[in-house]
Amino acid sequence: MNAHYETAAIRPAVAVKKKARRYTQNGVALFFLAPWLIGLICLTLGPMIASLYFSFTDYSVLSAPNWVGLTNYKTMFTSDKLFLISLKVTFLYVLVSVPLKLIFALAVAVLLNKGMKGLGIYRTVYYIPSLLGGSVAIAMLWRKMFGGDGLLNQILHLVGINAPDWVANPKYALYSIVLLSVWQFGSSMIIFLAGLKQIPSEYYEASAVDGASRMRQFFSITIPMLSPVIFFNLVMQIITSFQSFTQAFVISNGTGGPVNSTLMYSLYLYKKGFAFFQMGYASAMAWVLVLLIALFTLLIFRSAKSWVHYEDGGK
């Protein structure tokens, strides 16, 4: 940086010309960034600032907000039992669904990496659930499939098992949503697959000569070499899982039931804001969620030093 300024001082005329060119370049960049930039300001930044303000108010949506200071935040942690329940449900969901999904995605990626014929087709087929999975239609389908006399139970009935209603029983309802999330392993799988292809085959050949088993190769070569990709997937999945909404909303018919067993954080936030007319409280919940996600992401980044291996030493 210093060097640049020195030359600029010595040869001002060139510098001015360079500066002008830089502006033009910035202009072009800005032009192409404009749609995104405007979207960010109008659709993300603006509402975020508004919601930060609302979080300190009592705002019923239909009438003007009333400043109440930190009351919303206090209520959340002191007297709102449903808030704690929704936290519990969400943590359980993240804790179960994220590892399961990653393991599943990795397993399929490893299988597909064996150099089989028609890889493109398989890759596409396995990716499809990720495209459809977030939709309302799939969640409705799930409700039907795992319902009391849904497809699953009819099959189980054929082999003589009388299974419960998986979505209407508080013991299992959340896990039927976990299953729906795991089923959408496609995007993680694609990233794993790309990561696997980056691992030089020499490592495997050398270790095979040394007599390493397949298992040993997987844990001593594949996992460490893949750890940056695992790290990336883990962070992304945790962030999206904390915000999970659609599936729980549709499967529980918007109630978070039975007995609040699927009352995800975002679902409760939505109910507070749009069904109970407490938009101020809902905004406060949204900001707590932002902090929670930031905290978890930070923790994972901290832990990364001990388990993520970069070939170039992470520089």
Partner: protein, 442 residues
Amino acid sequence: MFKKSLIAGLSLVMAVTFSACSSGGKQNGQASGADSGGNGDKIVLRMSWWGSQTRHDLTMKALKLFEQKHPNITVKPEYSGWDGYFDKLSTQVAGANAPDVIQMDYAYLTDYAKRGALLDLDKYVQSKDLDIADHDKSMIKAGSVDGKLYAVTLGVNAPGVLYNSTVFQNLGIEEPKEDWTWKDFGDIAAKIAKAKGQGFYGSADISGTTNMFEILVRQNGHSLFNNGQFAATKDDLKQWFTMWDNLRKNGGATPAEVTAAATNAQETRPISVGTAAMDFAWSNQVIAFQKALKNQNDKIKVQVIPHSEGEKKIGEYLKPSMFVSGYAKTAHPKEVAELINFLVNDPDCAKILGTERGIPVNSKIREQLKQSAPEQEKMIYDFIETVSKHSSDIDPPYPQGFSELDKSFHTTSEQISFGQSSIDDAITQFMNNAKSILGKSQ
């Protein structure tokens, strides 16, 4: 040169996008205004309602007729089921782009009117755009808040027990009479379950439905709310939840899982899918239930909510099934009033809508319709007549915070039915919740 055109282009992009950004605030006026500018003098009104497929079909037909009679107005329908309707409406009101004509519920009327979201209709009554001369006085009162008319009753109904009379006849069980009690109800429900065997239950478990619990509370001489606070006693709650708990044990009511699998939509109710013989509903829903019935040869009938033995007063009451309101910020208030007037006073429209939203509020229309009503609708007229003779007055609208309390009540019933909590513990917890929910919204 390149730079100049670039900046010009950029600022154009910015200008277009920013104006798109900022149009949210005045969208309501603009949206309707733009429409009227676009197609000559055509005015576009948006109307929203909740209901079953039956209602959607009938209402669309009625709106077609309205468009024929008012060629300068087009009505854009926005319909959905009950679940989520008010979530959406509150969002639309907050975003200042609510529909011009809104189907409104008794439970939400005060909230919306007091917060200035609804059109004051008095002006249009005076200007004769809206005629309420033949409407029942009690229903005009029910649609008024602070002495101003905000909502016109679309129909009158009453709570009742719907039952599949074919199942009763096949099992040789006597159909319920008007003077039946909760004990009779329980006995009948258990008998049906026993006769039909596993997988079939006497009645849907509606222990989580707050407004049905309210009827028992009224029979006990209390009211559900008083001065915005929860006014039912622990004993009321205990009596209610214990009764349903016993019914679940002998098959009289659907078990927890079956109950949880059903939603508010008629198509999902146990009586419709053929796993129960009775359900609690509103008289205007008889037709929708009949249409949703799995076995179309079965006949749905309706009887009053069972009485309590030695009840302090009759719990049954007449209720405006739903209202129609205008949106306060509509660009075409006069046309809104015309549409409302059409929906409640036009004889041809009444013929189409029938009693699907309840018995018509206009006494002349009511007389006219009853003459030509098909058998099942006659039954509803008779039912409402019975109730109007033997009932007590409706309680004031539910206080702010009702929807949250309603959810808590529903959760309480689930905690008990899934065996997660004893009845006493669940009630104590609910009473605490009720206090904090309603205390907060005062």
